[in-house]
Homo-oligomer: 800 residues x 2
């Protein structure tokens, strides 16, 4: 898209200057607006043509039975899929009885702009009817970040070349007809007619529809009100039916005259509250919007984003596409999370139906790390959602014969929705990923209250899971058998290194956190013996290593497996999962996405610098990046091991994942994790924020043989900034122990500035740096160590 | 059942002396009759009450889509399930307008007898109507072994205590209403209304229905004719509708008068032939039956069975239940296979809908070994069926990216129907099991023509599968990764020992067979290099062994897994698969069914005697026998390792599996493999037929380190007879290299007699014995070696 001729790079906007119906669905995703509670895809105002009409409310879903040809104990019986709720975006237009439809007549000009600072999607169109009348249409649309129930549209039309009779139909539409999707397993299941009508209403300029989801019993209410301005003779009438409410405004315009409409829309839903309560809720939201007014909403939107960007912005000099992409990504991450308020952040945010609207480990492992540094309160909210699902996770663990909590692989409401257990149930690492997100958030922000509350709940119950999942072998080592790591081309393995290393972190983090909040130990039932057992177990967790090859193993025995035959694999056989059976992928050395490499990123202290170089060189030629989660992790390790050219190539791939539709499914929504990946690659790769928390063992005897990282016990963060040759400057802020640190780096110098908080010690390429507030420290950037650049599998070099 | 008070043991019959509706469905299975082409369950003549009405034609099935909540490459899209075809058994009776229904009125006496020598099911009932009239009903039923399309019933009724008006309705019924079954994954899917009517006909005493299966396009025709004998005034009329054809015979009987009916039924089906052709086929079959007549059919049935028993009988003295059970089992194996004629032998034969009527590896690994010695022509037929499905198996291998053939895990028509790949697609051992069945059949019978034809096709294409499935590791050893062995509580393992050892056999057997028939090498494309490669690969195939524990590993790393917590497992949690998730079963040391122990049975030369003792002692406490296939294998190894008491207990469990309904699913049909298991336990366990083919390596350098069995290169078979204390005598025949050898053994002496064929060398407990025809050799039986008897998991001792 960004390389599409219709999209010119711009540092603070996504701008489309011509309409290509071939990328309409993709454009709806990239122009999507959301506040984490409500999401509207960037559909054209008039509803058609469309790729996928989409209006989503976080956690409103349809449930459906999960079919199994051969059933098994513990298989989830019910799935969930996000539903397209009542569409409040639709404003149809008739010009002299010609429906305004860009497939007919002549489109003279078209522009859409999504501004990352204003949060407004602006549209400007000139169009001539088949009978020759030209109109100019402008619209501005927002999903309010300040008033989470509210969206609004400012819509105007004027005639250019003579008088025209205009009819504008502003609608609420439920159960919109959706296109059928392909059989691709990654495509969301289409659910027809998800909403049962309960009430419809139209009066004056006001519209309201109330429905109940057919399968999940959630009540959804949408109300709209309008401000109409037009020449004398402008008239309107409202009407409603069960699935549509409509305000029709008619006017006859002369050139120079203009019909304007402001549409306020309020959404509300509840699975518990009564119809009158939900009705009042949306009417209240609507009243709030009317009171604020269009300009008030615009101002508030800008204020929210100013606040966000003041901390979150990343400045990239030398690549205008990546500059745009990192802001595009941060903008969408903020949109996905800002007003989530104890609801999940789905893998595609609220931008489409991809992955059925489910949340995965992506959230904790990719999205939350970025939000921790840029909008930390959203992280507390997202983790509070996880905590709110703890009863289901505890119950799921019981069902599986395990202790503690087992969080779902994919879900909307906290119940496991994965119907394929080898890459679902046994991908237990999601639990450690949640624990790591807690640990990271608390360390970055210093939020002790969160740590004592939801944090401790999550850490303790996940630690217990690991303790019950693994076992001590005859070798005295703690092994975790039969699990699947991040690489979905391997499954049901022994001692997946990423899982084990993350489990070890989880056990230690739980032990540390309970020790900090001993008053909560009794109600969690944690004894001193249990804490000691967690530490003991963590210290003895297996870290598989092949001594002959001198590389770590992704899982025990992985490096003895048959290598995948990449020479015999053609480029059109990617993604491999659509062309080869799982069993064959699983038993060979082929890596879908960073796994051991991710472990080196998330648990850097498990590896020496030399091991990282050797490991990265070993796994690169096996990693095909059939997952959008991979490139950013590889960028970080490539940067760390000195392969700056390669790191930059991966950064660009991560940055352009959705903007260039590299995986050909941007139409289903944006990959939040990959959007986060641009920040990760820049900040953690080139900024070299390698670790924000050294975790030296409490007892030196606990030091495992595989743990050999450079430990600086009193350094709060380790930086190793180093730019690729393409960039002249990179600047960003990160949060460490409640401080805000700014790093502004060029090719030869890096400037550290402590923006807020007390003095702090960090390291710069291993050199200790004492930071005090507002006293910049300039340090030279050493040259990168030289080693041969690893090769990727045939045809799988970074796509840039 | 056999221990049910209504069933008294009898050496040559299964006899039921009272009716218990609580075991009606089970009785329908044990009284089922079949010839391998047509099967009738032992339903009561009058159709109701019933457990499961059942009439089956081998390979007539319904196809249905296999649902996947998450699809994957190579998943089978279509399943198959056996269907209840037109029922020709039904003969309803009205006495003074009272329907003869055992749930009403009073049942004065009831007896059913299935005679293993006559092959006839006889029934005798005295019943009083609710109004007090008593009638005596007798019936005899057979599914003809001599005329495969034909079944017949001789039915008679008389009144006992006064005149009665009698109406007899002899019917053909299609699309019978079936009971719904439970959600147990092992239960067959019920397919309602599987048959679409094409033609119905009734005239005189003749009836005919022709249908087509709704989903698979198979045309099924059934025709019946009758001979009616009754007192003066006996009248009859025939009528037909699409799904029912009916001959109604009416008579008024005085005491001493009798109404008799002989019903001949002919079945035919084809997926290719036209309606007139199939109509003529069944009318021709019916004409043949009429010409033979009832007594002619009875005589021919007896003759077939006399021939069978003359070779197949096993005499057991000291346990009348096992004596009955082994004959019951052999009788049903013969019924399942006698006229199969290039159709599969399903896991439940044609006795019920269990396992959807699919054939599994059970056939080649359990059923065919017994038939090889007792009715070898049926083995050639069953393997010819496998060969007929070779095109599908070659195509499946291509789909999976493999060479050679991949035979299905479960199927009716040769296409893979398993929807759960971890215990389906990757249970590749079925291919080696087929190869071993070929090898065994050829060696036992000396059938060189079969070896040169279907045998060679099967051996070569399965050998190629193994060569492409495994790979040589850096250790120079051939490894097979990611496969599932017989134990379904483990999956996707590296180097499953059973699979590897059987693959090695397969590679060598293919090499040997091509070498014997070099003229076929060109058309199979086999070069000298390929043969050498097979031998090289076989010699270097991994045989996992734990040196610390000094036991073989079921698969690489198995003995390092966490042991299952049997102490925490209650008896009502068996079978474990219904109470624990697969992932937990897979990653722990718990064995559903003999796997390593089966390898010691099928590949005895891979192990020394001491290793067998240690291995058996190691795996016994892990083996829960949640599969009916396990007990007989454990019986063989228990006998071999000297644990005769335990071996006998397992023999009884195998023998009573269906007769005592130990797995609570005899209602769905009989377990053919477990029925075979009784013979296996007796002949291969106590008879000690441990190996029928020594396979010394062609090149001594090919001797793998793990191969340490006692090799007697010129001994055709190794025997080690030894009786448990419960038995006084055991006698049976086996086929070796085209000879028939009889072994008649007591507690202290074993007599070997060569019944036919040229001189042969065998061993008796390691002592060479030269056998010549009709010259018995008596040899003393040495005492069993003593070692502590292994223990089973808590609560899982043999059920006897």
């Amino acid at each position: 898209m960004i390389t599409h001729e219709n999209f010119a790079p711009d540092p603070w906007q996504l701008r489309e200057t011509a309409l290509d119906l071939g990328v309409l669905a993709q454009s709806e995703s990239v122009f999507a607006q959301s506040n984490g509670h409500l999401g509207w895809r960037g559909n054209l105002d008039e509803g058609e043509p469309h790729g996928l009409p989409g209006s989503y409310l976080n956690s409103v879903y349809a449930s459906h039975p999960l079919p199994y040809a051969e059933a098994g104990y513990g298989y989830p019986e019910s799935g969930q899929t996000t539903v397209n709720v009542t569409d409040g975006k639709v404003i149809r237009l008739l010009v002299d009885d010609h429906p305004f439809d860009l497939r007919y007549g002549e489109l003279l000009s078209h522009e859409r702009v999504l501004d990352f600072r204003t949060g407004v999607l602006s549209r400007s169109v000139e169009w001539t009817t088949p009978s020759g009348r030209t109109v100019r249409l402008t619209s501005q649309r927002m999903v309010s970040l300040a008033q989470r129930a509210v969206a609004a549209i400012s819509y105007g039309v004027e005639t250019v070349n003579g008088p025209a009779t205009i009819a504008v139909q502003s609608e609420l539409v439920a159960n919109e007809q959706l296109p059928t999707t392909s059989g691709d397993p990654r495509m969301a299941a289409v659910i027809d007619s998800p909403l049962l009508p309960e009430e419809h209403y139209a009066n004056g300029t006001r519209l309201r529809l109330i429905h109940c989801t057919a399968t999940s019993g959630q009540r959804v209410a949408v109300a709209a009100d309008h401000i109409v301005q037009g020449p004398e003779g402008t008239a309107w009438a409202a009407e409603s039916e069960p699935d549509v409410a409509r305000l029709t405004v008619t006017a006859t315009l002369e050139p120079g005259q203009r019909l304007e409409l402001v549409k306020f829309v309020a959404y509300g839903w509840s699975a518990e509250r009564s119809l009158p309560a939900v009705r009042d809720q949306v009417e209240g939201g609507l009243a709030g919007a009317r009171t604020t007014g269009w300009q008030g909403l615009v101002d508030a939107q800008r204020a929210c984003l100013d606040e966000f960007w003041s901390c979150a912005d990343v400045e990239v000099e030398g690549d205008e596409e990546v500059q745009q992409a990192v802001r595009f990504g941060l903008f969408h991450l903020y949109q996905a999370s800002a007003r989530g308020e104890r609801r999940p952040i789905p893998a595609k945010g609220l931008t489409g139906t991809g992955y059925d609207g489910h949340a995965f480990w992506d959230t904790e492992s990719f999205v939350l790390p970025v939000l921790t540094h840029t909008a930390p309160y959203t992280v507390a909210s997202a983790l509070a959602w996880r905590q709110s699902t703890l009863p289901r996770a505890l119950e799921r663990a019981r069902q599986l014969g395990l202790e503690g909590a087992t969080f779902p692989w994919r879900t909307i409401n906290g119940a496991e929705c994965s119907a394929y257990w080898p890459a679902g149930t046994v991908a237990f690492h999601v639990n450690a990923d949640i624990a790591a997100a807690v640990e990271r958030y608390v360390f970055s922000t210093g939020d002790r209250e969160f740590q004592r509350g939801p944090g401790l709940d999550l850490l303790v119950h996940t630690a217990r899971l690991w303790r019950s999942l693994g076992h001590f072998g005859a070798d005295g080592v703690f092994h975790i058998d039969g699990v699947t790591g991040p690489d979905e081309y391997s499954a049901i393995a022994r001692d997946n290194l990423y899982t084990n290393a993350m489990a070890r972190r989880n056990l230690r983090a739980a032990a540390d956190a309970v020790s900090l909040h001993p008053d909560r130990a009794p109600d969690l039932g944690v004894s001193a013996e249990e804490i000691a057992d967690w530490r003991h177990t963590a210290a003895r967790t297996a870290i598989p290593y092949n001594r002959r090859l001198r590389v770590h193993e992704q899982s025990a025995g992985f490096t003895d497996q048959e290598p995948w035959d990449f020479e015999a694999t053609s480029e059109d056989q990617y993604p491999l999962l659509l062309h080869f059976p799982y069993f064959d992928l699983y038993r060979k050395q082929v890596v879908k996405q960073a796994d051991l490499v991710l472990a080196m990123f998330t648990c850097p202290d498990e590896f020496t610098a030399e091991e990282k170089v050797r490991n990265f060189a070993y796994y690169e030629p096996l990693t095909v990046r059939d997952s959008s989660l991979s490139a950013c992790c590889q960028a970080v390790l490539a940067a760390e091991t000195g392969h700056l050219r390669l790191a930059w190539a991966y950064t660009r791939e991560a940055a352009l994942m959705d903007l260039d539709d590299l995986e050909h499914n941007t139409r289903d929504g944006l990959h939040m994790a990959s959007l986060a990946g641009t920040w990760i690659a820049l900040v953690q790769g080139f900024g070299g924020l390698r670790r924000i928390r050294p975790t030296p063992p409490a007892d030196p005897r606990d030091q495992p043989s595989g743990m050999a990282g450079p430990v600086e016990p009193d350094a709060a963060a380790l930086f190793a900034p180093r730019l690729p040759s393409s960039l002249t400057r990179l600047a960003f802020n990160v949060r460490v122990q409640g401080r805000l640190i700014r790093l502004d780096m060029g090719q030869s110098t890096a400037r550290y500035t402590l923006l807020s908080g007390g003095p702090l010690t960090v390291t710069h390429h291993g050199t200790r740096v004492e930071l005090t507030v507002d006293t910049p420290t300039d340090l030279p950037v050493p040259p990168a160590p030289a080693s041969p650049e690893p090769r990727q599998p045939k045809g799988r070099a970074p796509r840039t």
